[in-house]
Point group: C2
Chain length 320, copies 2
Amino acid sequence: MSKQRDVWLREVGTRDGLQSIATIFPTAAKLEWIRLEAAAGMPEIEVGSFVPPKLLPQMADSAEVVAGAKRTPGLRVSVLVPNLRGAENALASGADQLNYVLSVSEAHSRANVRRSVQEAMDDFRRIIEYRNARPEFRHVRVAGGLATAFGCTIAGQVPVSEVFDAARKMIELGADEIAVADTVGYANPAQCRQIFREVLAIVGDVPVTAHFHDTRGLGLANVDAALDVGIRRFDASLAGLGGCPYAPGASGNVVMEDLVFMLEAMGLSTGVDLDGLLEARGHMERHLEGESTRGAFVKAGVPKGFVLAGDDVASRGGRA
Amino acid sequence: MSKQRDVWLREVGTRDGLQSIATIFPTAAKLEWIRLEAAAGMPEIEVGSFVPPKLLPQMADSAEVVAGAKRTPGLRVSVLVPNLRGAENALASGADQLNYVLSVSEAHSRANVRRSVQEAMDDFRRIIEYRNARPEFRHVRVAGGLATAFGCTIAGQVPVSEVFDAARKMIELGADEIAVADTVGYANPAQCRQIFREVLAIVGDVPVTAHFHDTRGLGLANVDAALDVGIRRFDASLAGLGGCPYAPGASGNVVMEDLVFMLEAMGLSTGVDLDGLLEARGHMERHLEGESTRGAFVKAGVPKGFVLAGDDVASRGGRA
């Protein structure tokens, strides 16, 4: 099987998923999940978050998880960092990539992290400078994320000009990747086309990732729209784990295995094996205590006559 | 509120939904569902099916339902007809539109209705001729549907040339509409772009409807792809009712209220009121006996700052 990928996927369930549920996963269970999903071909996994353990006990073992995940050959081990202190710890842990996220919405930024957008951007600059000043960390990638880029539960609509300004600043500061996130599940396909088309024009050669939540059922429709304007990197989580714990089944990330099925069916190679993903899903679900999971592919399986991307594109109708 | 529609929707839950579930809806419950959904602005409802009552007891009251639905001002009352006999009964009932469906897949056609595709096409010709020969029915529209157009559970892949040939023949015979159906939930967005682009080129001015099932979670992504190449008519069902009764939650039609939300969010006016839809959904659900329903919008509601299509397009980011 060719491992050339048309689309780069990042599993975020081990961070965005686990931080949203009540069940505490033991470190060994996280590492087995990571091992199984990496074995299925997942190229990148956000394995944890360097937030204060008091705030998120679920993420208290992130350094240990990074160390374990780093033993998986070929896997890009990325972690979320909320500030410079978190970035220092993440770099010390040996992570391959730091994902820093700021809220484009001023109201959301102040409510969530008690900082203005400008202060949050200053933190991003400090993280990049810290990394740049230390030769031993020069190979570590620092991604800049734009939360609430499609709307905000506090402010409502977020002006697109503020999304574009923030992307531009992060690129100037030296971001190795820009992630544009629909943190609260407000995005629609028309908005995705508009925002991603412009962000791609702003960033030049820097990769852009789309991070969608499925709150209103539009996750995969938004993926289609993002693909349509040229996005080839997506965050998702196995079984859609994540979202708001107070609205079971209503929220969560895009379901990874449904996303992989869609991309492969469209003729876009992900390098990820669907059977292996379902094995990882089964493992993860055995540790849940009452949380519901989602997903259509797990029930329906592949269609009869289904051809993986790259195997026989012509007979299936070609690429979009 | 402007009632100019950018997209024409057809509720099919009262046919495709009800025929797939065990609960038998009383005629009065069907009519109340139709009344509520029409009051919410739904322009067309497929209210029943003129199949032999022995085969589908749920649809035995279709003539009565048509008569009741016809009292709703402005509603296009359409029905499914499986053959000429069904079409005669449907015309006598006073329906505004007959939806005839043939399977493009030879294997599916023979297994499902014990006819070849050619025999099924001959039936379509007879239905059109019957209608044309009777001045009192000249105003009744006859739509030609192409089932298994995206794949078949028996044959697997269905050659696109056979889909296009069938569409061409139906247009030559005088179809007033072409519906292209992903009967078994095999479609992906790339395939949708390819097939709908070509079908639109074949049909000229005749309207084309997309009918998707959500079996693998790609329903709304397929809608986005179909919109992208110019489709502006969709079938869907309230709460996603329908699909296979043996795989609860795994199948069913595209969820109507999620679809309406997506279209309105994209700046495409449907003429349908979301609150009214949810009221109809609540009514319908009260009659279910154990069947599960689906839908994200019903749990999440509209985003803060949401603007309906046509109200303030510019501030939301414009149309796709």
